[in-house]
């Protein structure tokens, strides 16, 4: 553990990106699997997720939005690990572009939930928060020449 703390001091953006993308991957994969496994997601006592995940906005051209989310988080995980291993010069740029796209999608979906569906899904809000943190961290990572 003693060796970990200086490493975290210098590599905290990568650590934060990895943590957020891992949690996001679990979150989005849960929704993706639910989409494919359940014939229809049942309504449960405390969440409004079924309204959101059963809505017409939950798929884009037949692809569930949750699956796109899973792929986004998977990309971030693989990109950060690649950067840690190989120091690709262009990866930080790519991270910013991809996470900015995900951030815009998140804004759109939160807007849909608040104003159109009038139902908030916890898993979706969590994903939007994580993609926002990932975008902000990517920008920091890109503009600060970190090791």
């Amino acid at each position: 553990m003693k060796n970990l703390s200086p490493l975290l001091k210098t590599h905290w953006p990568q650590a934060l990106l990895l943590l957020c993308s891992l949690v996001g991957f679990i979150d989005a994969t849960y929704l993706t699997v639910s989409h494919y496994v359940n014939f229809h997601l049942p309504c449960v006592i405390f969440t409004g997720c079924e309204t959101v995940t059963n809505s017409v906005y939950s798929t884009m051209a037949g692809i569930p939005v949750a699956l796109l989310g899973s792929l986004f988080y998977l990309f971030i995980i693989l990109a950060v690990i690649s950067h840690l291993l190989y120091r690709h010069r262009y990866l930080p740029y790519l991270l910013v572009y991809v996470s900015f796209t995900a951030f815009l999608f998140s804004l759109y979906f939160i807007g849909l939930q608040v104003w159109v569906l009038k139902a908030i899904c916890f898993y979706c809000v969590m994903s939007a928060t994580l993609s926002t943190i990932i975008f902000a961290t990517s920008v920091y990572f890109r503009f600060h020449r970190l090791p």
Partner: protein
């Protein structure tokens, strides 16, 4: 690729695979906290249909919420099963998820009020078919009155029954029996008193019902 990188990638791939496998196992596991037995058998005042002229019957109790999209999705399947399987006896019990569905309670009361004038199943079907039109509407009560009118109900009596204590008590009783049975979401089905995981297709639904009829038929009505 050097040895260190190969090790890192192997760990990452194994970890991600384990996550996906774990999630699939979690989602597909049957969700029933208690023993899966219906706490309250079908009562005389329950809303029940089907099984007329059948030599033996099979009972399907559904806990449902008129504002739940999954319940609206299953409703036509249940109706189709009723017409395809003459032995099927369906009992509808209210399980309004008032925490997330703002018109869940009102819609249950509207159907109960229609039931007081003999049009329970017709009103239920209307509400499920038109769910998106009233689900988030602040004036859902006016929409329900419109449906009552469409069904030719006495509107004064409809309004009285909609707000009566007896109606509220009936819904509360159903909700409580659902909680006692371990219901956490809707729709929840009990076949001959035993919880079943929501079928993934109409064919699976029919197979489950026919199996129950073959193995443990209930007496004719």
């Amino acid at each position: 690729m050097n040895k260190q990188a190969a090790t890192v990638w192997t760990i990452v791939i194994i970890l991600l695979t384990l996550i996906v496998v774990g999630i699939v196992a979690l989602v597909t596991a049957p969700k029933q906290p208690t023993n899966g037995i219906l706490s309250l058998p079908v009562q005389a005042d329950d809303w029940t249909t089907g099984g007329v002229n059948a030599s033996s019957t099979v009972s399907l109790v559904e806990y449902s919420d008129f504002q739940c999209p999954a319940c609206a999705f299953y409703d036509p399947l249940v109706r189709r099963a009723l017409s395809d399987i003459p032995e099927l006896v369906l009992t509808y019990r209210y399980f309004p998820l008032t925490q997330t569905h703002k018109n869940a309670d009102l819609s249950a009361r509207a159907v109960e009020a229609a039931g007081q004038q003999g049009r329970f199943w017709e009103m239920g079907e209307l509400l499920f078919t038109n769910q998106e039109k009233w689900a988030n509407d602040d004036k859902a009560e006016a929409i329900f009155s419109g449906y009552a009118q469409q069904l030719g109900l006495d509107l004064t009596k409809f309004s009285e029954d909609l707000n009566s204590q007896a109606t509220k008590d009936k819904i509360a009783k159903d909700y409580q029996s659902g909680l006692d049975s371990g219901v956490t979401g809707t729709p929840s089905f009990y076949l001959n008193g035993k919880f079943i995981t929501n079928p993934k297709s109409y064919e699976e639904f029919v197979t489950l019902i026919k199996d129950a009829l073959a193995t443990s038929p209930a007496p004719a009505l």
